[in-house]
């Protein structure tokens, strides 16, 4: 039985705590009385994942077993989550591979020949052949790539279908092949409560025309939080779009959830609570930290990026999305939900080396911002961890680095647009359309491995709710120029950051440290 999540009150006996800081980490001693939010212990993984998948496919929720939905001559499209999930990437075989192989076996047994596989990358960069191969496995890759295993192309006008508008006037435009299929099988990994469900098809296969209806400042400011779907305007929009999609095409969803075994055994101490470290964990910490600091930057990045998590699969549910997703969310909550009493004046987060958009890439300043003020700030239900007007303190070096192939529009966004303003509404109004329709960005998105031109705007909007909520944002160890460009402040130490925060929250603030990763979803009462 795994122990539930809990909140630690820092006292004299509390050891220094792990703080992620980009491609590194440190031990930090927090002020007495600080609260530390820990996730539940990692849940045990399913022993026989293949059997669980088979069981889910044969005993789905709210629909017939998958084999009964498969008929000779039908058009079958298997869609799967792209490389933005899970984080870090999981050790192979990827659970998507295991599912896709079983689905294909069932399709073959039923004489289904017209099968296409599509990565649901929306406006994310295309997955490289190697990344696709890692996700779907050698057997599927060799059988289907490149003709029948593709990335979704949100700018391929001929292969998009406008299905209509929701009652709120939202355009629903998705991949034509999928939309005109007899059956979509969607293979999902739900790492956080925001993923999966109605989001899968309506976002993963959509175009800018469709995405702009929920990926905007207004919607994100009314998604409190986007990890709490009932209170997320963004998810309400997904649901409306899903309703329209369901009228056109049948979707058979397979959703999976993972436990909190985020780091491999060599860095197992990062998965554990600090006071439970044994001698081996302490030695590992010292050795890994020292080696990490001594390594050349490129080598260090390569090693972090090649880290694969030994996740256990905690749930496999298949069938009708509306019946499957509540079960999936329940699994996510079992693994991540921690009850927290009250908000704090200051919240602290240590930002790790990876986010959904820098897999095999560089975490540029905009992505740091979206990871901190977007993903981590929004890891709450009910109320934010930090009170209105409070201060967020993040640990990250925020280097002024960009991947020129993956993030070309981010460079322009950072260098030109943010120098004019950091106001999300102003940027959205003045520049979003320009970036979204820029032919060069579109060319790079379609033919190279670039995120879509509009993507940095979405990342900026991702932090819009936090920016509106917080009184100050401070990055410990952050590059002063880059943090300043984004409208934030940098401090050398936690002590300095707390001193700087005094202007906003006074001299005796309450402090909460949201200890992640592994991820914890704070249920703030």
């Amino acid at each position: 039985m795994s122990r539930p999540g809990f909140v630690l009150d820092v006292d004299e006996r509390t050891p220094p705590l792990i703080m992620h800081q980009g491609e590194g980490f440190r031990l930090e001693r927090l002020p007495l009385g600080s609260k530390v939010i820990y996730p539940p212990d990692s849940l045990p993984g399913i022993r026989d994942v293949d059997a669980a998948i088979r069981h889910a496919l044969l005993h789905p929720h709210g629909t017939e077993p998958l084999p009964e939905l498969l008929t000779p001559g039908m058009r079958l499209t298997i869609v799967f989550d792209d490389l933005s999930l899970p984080l870090p990437p999981m050790q192979t075989p990827d659970v998507r591979q295991r599912i896709i192989e079983q689905v294909l076996e069932m399709a073959a047994a039923k004489g289904v020949d017209d099968v296409e596989l599509i990565a649901a990358n929306a406006l994310h960069r295309r997955m490289t052949p190697a990344e696709l191969r890692r996700t779907v496995g050698d057997r599927v890759f060799h059988a289907f790539f490149p003709e029948h295993l593709k990335n979704h192309d949100a700018e391929d006008r001929d292969n998009l279908l406008h299905m209509g508008k929701t009652r709120h006037g939202e355009d629903v435009e998705i991949n034509r092949r999928a939309a005109e299929s007899d059956l979509i099988v969607y293979v999902n990994i739900t790492l956080t409560a925001m993923s999966g469900g109605a989001k899968s098809v309506s976002v993963g296969l959509a175009s800018y025309r469709s995405l702009k209806h929920h990926h905007n400042v207004h919607t994100l400011r009314h998604s409190n939080s986007f990890n709490d779907p009932p209170n997320s305007a963004m998810h309400h929009s997904y649901e409306r779009m899903k309703g329209l999609i369901d009228e056109h095409v049948k979707v058979f969803t397979i959703e999976t959830t993972l436990n909190n075994d985020t780091f491999p055994s060599s860095m197992g101490f990062l998965n554990k609570r600090e006071w439970e470290w044994n001698v081996r964990d302490q030695a590992s910490y010292l050795a890994v930290k020292r080696a990490n600091e001594l390594m050349p930057k490129k080598t260090r990045r390569r090693i972090w990026q090649s880290t694969a998590a030994p996740y256990g699969v905690t749930g496999v549910h298949a069938g009708l999305q509306s019946e499957v997703h509540p079960l999936t969310l329940n699994n996510v909550h079992r693994q991540q939900l921690t009850e927290v009493n009250g908000q704090s004046d200051i919240a602290i987060w240590g930002l790790p080396y990876i986010c959904p958009y820098n897999v095999n890439s560089v975490m540029n300043p905009i992505l740091v911002m979206s990871l901190g003020l977007g993903y981590f700030f929004n890891l709450y239900k009910n109320k934010p961890i930090v009170r209105q007007g409070g201060v967020a303190i993040f640990y990250h070096p925020v280097p002024n680095e960009f991947h020129p192939v993956h993030h070309p529009s981010y460079i322009d966004f950072f260098e030109e647009i943010l120098t004019e303003s950091t106001d999300p509404v102003l940027l959205e109004t003045k520049y979003e359309e320009q970036f979204a329709t820029d032919p060069w960005y579109i060319q790079l998105y379609r033919n190279s491995y670039a995120y879509h031109g509009v993507h940095p705007f979405y990342m900026w909007y991702w932090g819009a709710h936090a920016m509106q909520h917080l009184g100050d944002v401070i990055f410990v160890g952050g590059n002063r120029k880059t943090t300043q460009r984004m409208g934030f402040r940098a401090a050398s130490t936690l002590g300095d950051a707390l001193e700087m925060a005094k202007d906003t929250v006074g001299s005796s603030p309450s402090i909460a440290y949201h200890h992640a990763p592994p991820l914890a979803l704070a249920d703030v009462r």
Binding site: P404, I411, D412, E415, E416, Q434, D438, P439, W440, Q443
Partner: protein, 398 residues
């Protein structure tokens, strides 16, 4: 006898100055090299004699230090120009001064600016085809006639130059300065006339796009001329220093861009496509209609060629130095246009004097030096961008 800065023949010093300033570190020491290594010396020499009728002696009040002067002193001017100079000579061609002799229509003591081109009329020759058509800057006779070779005042051994207490000038070179125009603005008339000439060298379509590469004196005045005399649409200025950005904005630049961001920024505003070659800088497919190269440096010209759209135009306003990859010129079928001094039979100078009076040019002549402090002056001029100055000038009255 007059006090003058004299440039004399010294191949050794020329090569040494060139060598020292050719490296990255050395280029930062240009001012020091110009003042200490270049074949320039402060001397007492005979005042230049009047070559004949229609000439006057001129006492300079202020004389600017031009980028082309610095280029000469750091050994970066092209040897191509050597047959068209006569040594030793006194540099300085951006001059506001007072006449010392009576001339028809120009009484003694008039405050004048000088068009430095030493064309047929100056040399007492029958007009060549260019002078006959009012394009004196293209004169074919600049090595002939009653004065020795020299493309302009400041490179001719007989006329003297502005970096002295006295020179001689022909009536056809003189433009009387309006009374209400301060000396600090009048001294900008010559570079402004050149800028106007460069803008008039090419057709600028209504609402077309232009880039000005460099925001020193030439770049800023080219921007002014573009905004005031053409119907150009957006003008983007590539500027290195903060004060240049403010000045360019005040003169009507649409946007001011740092050099390292130029290609990306212009790609975005022109919705062009950017490509990165295996060697060399990024370039655009698409781009701007007209680029004015106002740095005189090879990298400025290289950037210009990479920013112009296919069929677009690159105007070389700065005196060129160094070689560049001309492949874009060939591949994008660009027009490469030279712009030297002023033209239009004096109209450029007249417009320059008018604009010098009305444009927001206060503070452009930031610092003046007496001749005796010439090394400091050259040091300052070579580093003027970083020091927040547009134009450094000699104050010959001190």
């Amino acid at each position: 006898m007059i006090l003058a800065l004299e440039y004399h023949r010294s191949p050794g010093r020329f090569v040494a100055a060139r060598g020292l300033t050719s490296t990255r570190v050395g280029s930062r020491l240009s001012g020091m090299v110009a003042g200490n290594v270049a074949p320039l010396r402060l001397v007492n020499r005979q005042a230049p004699e009047l070559p004949g009728e229609g000439w006057t002696r001129v006492t300079p009040i202020l004389t600017g230090i031009c980028g082309s002067d610095l280029s000469l002193l750091t050994g970066h001017s092209s040897p191509y120009l050597s047959p068209m100079t006569s040594m030793p000579f006194v540099p300085g061609h951006e001059i506001v001064g007072r006449t010392m002799d009576e001339l028809p229509g120009i009484p003694k003591g008039s405050r004048v600016v000088i068009d430095p081109v030493l064309s047929c009329a100056v040399r007492g020759m029958e007009p060549c085809r260019w002078c006959a058509s009012g394009q004196q800057s293209r004169c074919d006779h600049i090595t002939a006639g009653r004065i020795s070779a020299g493309i302009q005042t400041g490179t001719c051994g007989d006329t003297g130059g502005g970096w002295s207490r006295q020179l001689v000038a022909h009536a056809s070179q003189l433009h009387v300065v309006p009374e209400d125009l301060p000396d600090e603005r009048a001294v900008l008339a010559e570079p402004l006339a050149c800028a106007i000439h460069s803008v008039r060298r090419v057709p600028i379509g209504p609402n077309s796009t232009a880039v000005v590469v460099g925001a020193g004196t030439v770049g800023l005045l080219t921007l002014l001329a573009l905004r005031e005399l053409t119907q150009v649409g957006a003008i983007y200025v590539i500027a290195k220093h903060g004060h240049q950005k403010d000045k360019a904005k005040a003169l009507g630049a649409t946007a001011v861009i740092e050099p390292r961001k130029a290609v990306r920024a212009l790609r975005r505003v022109t919705t062009a496509r950017m490509h990165t070659p295996e060697m060399g800088a990024d370039f655009l497919l698409g781009g701007v209609d007209t680029v004015f190269e106002c740095t005189g440096g090879a990298s400025g010209l290289d950037t210009s060629l990479r920013l112009a759209r296919a069929g677009g135009t690159v105007v070389m306003s700065g005196m060129p130095s160094g070689g560049v990859d001309l492949t874009p010129l060939w591949f994008r079928e660009l027009e490469l246009v030279g712009a030297y001094c002023s033209g239009s039979d004096g109209a450029d100078f007249a417009d320059a004097l008018r604009l010098a009076g009305s444009a927001p040019l206060d503070g452009y002549v930031g610092t003046t030096y007496p001749l005796a402090r010439w090394r400091e002056a050259l040091n300052h001029a070579a580093d003027s961008g970083r020091l927040g100055t547009v134009k450094v000038a000699f104050d010959l009255a001190r």
